[in-house]
Amino acid sequence: MRQRVLVLIIGLLVVSVTSAIAVLAYMSRQATIRSLREQQDALTQFAVGTVELGVSTGRFGTVQKFLSDLAANPLFAGAIIYDADSDVLLSVPDDFEIPSSVEQEALTTGGSVVAGDLAYQAEALEDQGEVIGYLLLAVSFESINREARGALVVTALVGFLILLPVTIIIAWILTWMEKRLRERELRLAEVNREIEIMLNNLDEGIFTFSPSGTVNAQHSSRARQLFGIMDFENATFSQIFDTDHDTIAEFQQWLALVSTPRFLANWEHFEQLNPIRELISEGDGRPRIITVRYRPIIEDDSLKRIMVLASDVTDQREAEAALNASKRDRESEMARILSLVQNDRSSLDGFLEEAKQHADRLLTIESLAGTSDDDWTDLCRDLHTLKGNAGSFGFTELESIAHRLEDVIASVREGKEAQESAKWNEERDELLAELDRIEEVRKRLYSSGHDRMGIDRRGYERLLSEIRDDELTDTREIQRQLWNLDALPFATFCERYQRILELYRQRHDARIDDLQVDTPDQSIHRTFCDVFDDCVMHLVRNALAHGIEKDEVREAKNKGPGLIRIAYEESAETAQITLSDNGGGIDPEAIMRIAVERRIITEEEGAALSEDERIELIFRSGFSTQAEANDISGRGVGMDAVRTQIEEYGGTIALDSQLGEGLTVTLTVPKNAVR
């Protein structure tokens, strides 16, 4: 558009320059014409004179020659000659009529001329005596005009020829400029398109508005979706934000405030005052939560535009809510575990039994309306007891459900039965579900039959804080760590064997050192305690009864007090207990003899066995080196039972006997078989 105007202006300029040149040329021609007229005047005088002379000498032929020469002059229009001798009036050319102006001219110079009827009077000339002819010369103005026109055309042509290339060059330059302009326009359009594509691919709804409050047309396609607006350029804030007049007024007020340089400098701080920072977009389907942020676009230190960035945070909020819910669930679960592990089993059993009875009574109430006052009193008492006990045992969730049920009863008694009925059922079901959950955890924790978990309190607190701080979110990992918490120091596990040892020492007054636990701080999971417990118990008893010699024997051998050592080790795959004593070890010969005696093998078979094979005989069913079971060595459980139990778990039992010096028994169990 602009280029066209430019071309038009330049075209007009060219035309006016050309016209001006033509006008100037015309004016200069007019001057030429004026000078020619003057010349003509002079020529008339001159011609008259010449003819007088020519004719007076009687050389008429000369006159004719002169005339024909004169006729060749483009200025010559015609002539009239009077021949006094023959009284003839000649006109050249024959039809030449004297123009009145010329006649006037001639008269002023002294003659009288009558044109048309050829009656010519030349008194003035005759007065001069010798004049025999008179010539009137007329100049053709037409020819001059023709010439002037010609000159004009030539000037215009020359001007045109000079101006044409200039015009062409200008036109070319203009075209070139226009082309460049168009290229730039295209490039700009391309960039705009790229921006648009970019905008449209953003997950954020973006549009901009100016501080005066006008919304700009450009926006991301997501913005259309989030705000439900198709035409941003003509949209108002109340349409875009779908909000009431007051909020928009506040928004405008905020806009005016942040447009000032002082507040602009701390945009993020003052953005907090924006009244529209979150929207609920109804749209189609479920409502979406949209957060809106505002970013300033600053040019030359002043606010040029404000960019609106809107994001749909519905999913995020839901995920957060779900995460919080699952976190709450985990915490409740932890609280249940803690309550269970903190209280001894018998009182817990009592509490849970009573709680179940209360719950069962709740179930017998079918309709809240039909409940008598006495029943209400009972119910309230039940719930109150339940609430109090749950609180003292640390079952906070159970406590709060009981509390809510009490509230429901209070409402019902105030006569709000109708709307409370559903709530009653809901809370009652929740109470039953919570009891089930507690029961489930209890079963998990007490499956091993221990009265009280030896849970590592510090480890538990650490785990709880990790869960609360979201450092630990994987439930499987939480379960694993929970599982790990159900462990105790190996020294604690070994206390029971120490008691056996002490009992033996007291009864037999034997010189035996305390049980030496080599790995007291190594933690052992309750599951492995269960796996190893009976076996270790048996091995300790064996060591006391058969391994460690009587005091007198030891003294004779110059051996110190008896000693039993125990160690527990875990690798990634296995759990291992090593029990050793400094007794007499296993005598292969003695073992073989007993085996033959008890008809486990024949004498021949025994003779054929190697030392190790003979030692292995202690694992045979029916082998027992002592005739009677006593208080220490147990109730007829032999080494075969130990091996059977360990092998049940896919484990192994290894003996390392040094005759006269002691025996080391190693029990190894693969972890995965247990867990």
């Binding site: 506040e250 007020q253 905020w254 005016a256 405030l257 002082r262 507040f263 701390n266 701080h269 003052f270 907090q272 005052l273 924006n274 009244p275």
Partner: protein, 120 residues
């Protein structure tokens, strides 16, 4: 020389908290006011360099007090202390000439940066 500050809040706890934070940062708290009316009187009397102004106070609101103080002293430097729900009132106060704001509950650093910005 330490800037002189007037603390206006109807809650004694809040006044104490603000005062402590300001004094710890080296400001001089020259006075305290419990109402908007008191704030105006104390402002005229003490001519402090800065005022911290609660939005909701008995007798006269913080916003009205800002109007009144600004009318007497166009150069007055006021920082609003508000709850989150009082956006509109804070905006009004800023429009009336208050320089900055801080949202309760705030920690000391938030208060101090608002005060520093306002004093610039």
């Amino acid at each position: 020389m330490a800037h002189k500050i007037l603390v206006c809040d109807d809650s004694m706890f809040m006044r104490q908290k603000i005062k402590q934070a300001l004094q710890d940062a080296g400001y001089e708290v020259v006075g305290e006011a419990e109402t908007g009316v008191e704030a105006i009187a104390k402002y005229q009397e003490l001519a402090p360099d800065l005022v911290t102004m609660d939005v909701v106070m008995p007798e006269m609101s913080g916003v009205d007090a800002v109007h009144e103080i600004m009318r007497g002293d166009a150069e007055a430097c006021i920082v609003m202390c508000s709850a989150l729900a009082q956006k509109k009132l804070v905006t009004d106060a800023l429009q009336a000439g208050a320089r900055d704001f801080v949202v309760k509950p705030f920690d000391d650093s938030q208060l101090l940066s608002a005060v520093e910005r306002a004093l610039q």
